[in-house]
């Protein structure tokens, strides 16, 4: 297998989309890539050499931590497995990464939560009501070494927002966001064909949001540029390394 430059990573359970996404990525990009997915749903089909599946019954952020630690590309492209990624998106993200003068750049595609229509550019903040809350991204590319430097994800997140917290920490460390402006590379979310982790959502969404806000929102409601509590990383024996 050619050494991947980009590792496309996600906690993943929607196996019915995996082959279609892989085909899409192969057809439209020339940059060597690998996909690393982790979750409890085993695929019932053979995976290509550069498509790595790691079985885990752990919570999604722990799967997320597992995939980046098992990735070997210089760059990480964060996805979910229900996204539609237009042809050429990985190549273009990579081109912009190379053009950034900042090693901690966060380059994103534009994003829409539906299969048609314009991108939803105003969603790129976790605290939209606060005009100083920084620009964040969906479907982001970053350097893997930045994740290593920052110690990975915070183990207290149960379902959501751990990647948002990571983006905030990258910005805190001098990183810079950049959104690819073109309409040709809008990453889209499919309509959900099955309820996703509804039980987890009910307990995880509010708790995770409370945690995120406790880490970044000051008592006066403003967004802090410095994380208000220390990172609690995963310990080595919580994360399987299979490669």
């Amino acid at each position: 297998m050619q050494k991947p430059v980009v590792s496309i990573i996600a906690p993943a359970i929607n196996i019915e989309y995996w082959q279609e996404l892989y085909t899409m990525l192969c057809a439209g990009n020339s940059i060597p890539f690998e996909i690393v997915y982790c979750g409890y749903n085993r695929p019932n089909f053979a995976l290509p050499e550069n498509f790595i599946y790691i079985h885990s019954e752990a919570k999604p952020p722990q799967c997320f931590e597992t995939v980046w630690r098992n990735a070997i590309g210089e760059f990480l492209f964060i996805v979910t497995d229900d996204l539609v990624v237009p042809p050429g998106t990985i190549d273009t993200l990579y081109v912009y990464m190379m053009r950034m003068q900042n090693e901690r750049a966060i380059v994103s595609a534009r994003f829409s939560d539906r299969l048609e229509g314009p991108a939803q550019d105003n969603l790129f903040c976790f605290d939209l009501a606060n005009p100083r809350s920084p620009v964040l991204g969906c479907a982001t590319m970053t350097r893997r070494k930045v994740w290593e430097e920052l110690g990975g994800l915070d183990r207290r997140f149960n379902l959501l927002w751990s990647d948002t917290d990571m983006q905030m920490r990258i910005l805190e460390a001098g990183g810079h966001p950049f959104i690819m402006p073109s309409e040709n590379h809008i990453v889209r979310e499919r309509p959900h064909i099955r309820p996703r982790l509804i039980g987890d959502l009910k307990k995880g969404k509010p708790l995770d949001k409370v945690l995120l806000e406790s880490l970044w929102i000051n008592s006066d409601g403003s967004t802090s540029k410095n994380r208000l509590d220390a990172l609690q990383p995963y310990v080595a024996n919580e994360i399987p390394i299979v490669r």
Binding site: V95, Y96, M98, R99, M100, Q101, N102, A105, R110, A119, D121, C125, P131, R132, S133, P134, V135, L171, H176, P177, F178, I179, M180, P181, S182, K225
Partner: protein, 251 residues
Amino acid sequence: MEKPIISLVASAIRTQHWLDLYEKLSTDNTIPFEIVFVGHMYPDFVLPENFIYIYSEAEAIECYETAYRNSKGEYVSFFADDIVPSSHFLNEMCAYLRRMWNDKVVLLPRLAFEYDPDARDGKCTPPLDSCMVAQLNNPEAPVVGACFTIKRSLWKELGGLDRRFTHIWSDLDMQLRIYEAGGCPFVSPTTIVWERAHTEHPRLSVKAGAGEDNMDVNFFNKCWLDENRILLKKRLIEFQPFTDDEIPIVR
């Protein structure tokens, strides 16, 4: 007059477009703004309070520096008078600027040529995103663009424009100097500027054939290209600012 948040500064001679631009900016933006234009063509109409015209026969780049030094906004946009901005241009640019944690961010709109006055936003020629690069065949050349907006304090910190430029590429030079100082670009995906087709006063633009024989291009190349013509991250020639007595302050 309400204190402007953003100042659009330019060397400007196409008086026939000025009121169109002002009306476009006034009707769909709530951000307080001012326009500061400097050039040798007196407008033959009354200008609004937040539209400042300064007469000057200086070269274009000196006019830009004059416009900046006479502006008051927290942000400064290196503009032109043949530009048509998309709807809510100022509001959206300012919204992104305020969400940046890096004080040295270079905020760029997307650029398109050949504005069609009869077409609505989005129906004109599409933006030329791939051209927004300082050296297209260099995979590490940074993103740059037209009509960049930065904090006023950053312009001051850099010392303004280099006085050796006369007509073009001083804006590109400034963007590269910002990156050299640790700045980063951000392209607002929702804002577009269209450049009008030129029927008079052809600008010394890339389109108009500013080639190697152009002295501004030559000077830029001496500043930023190595012997293999690769764009550098560090400027080779020391910056020379305009002196105070070269730039009139009228406000």
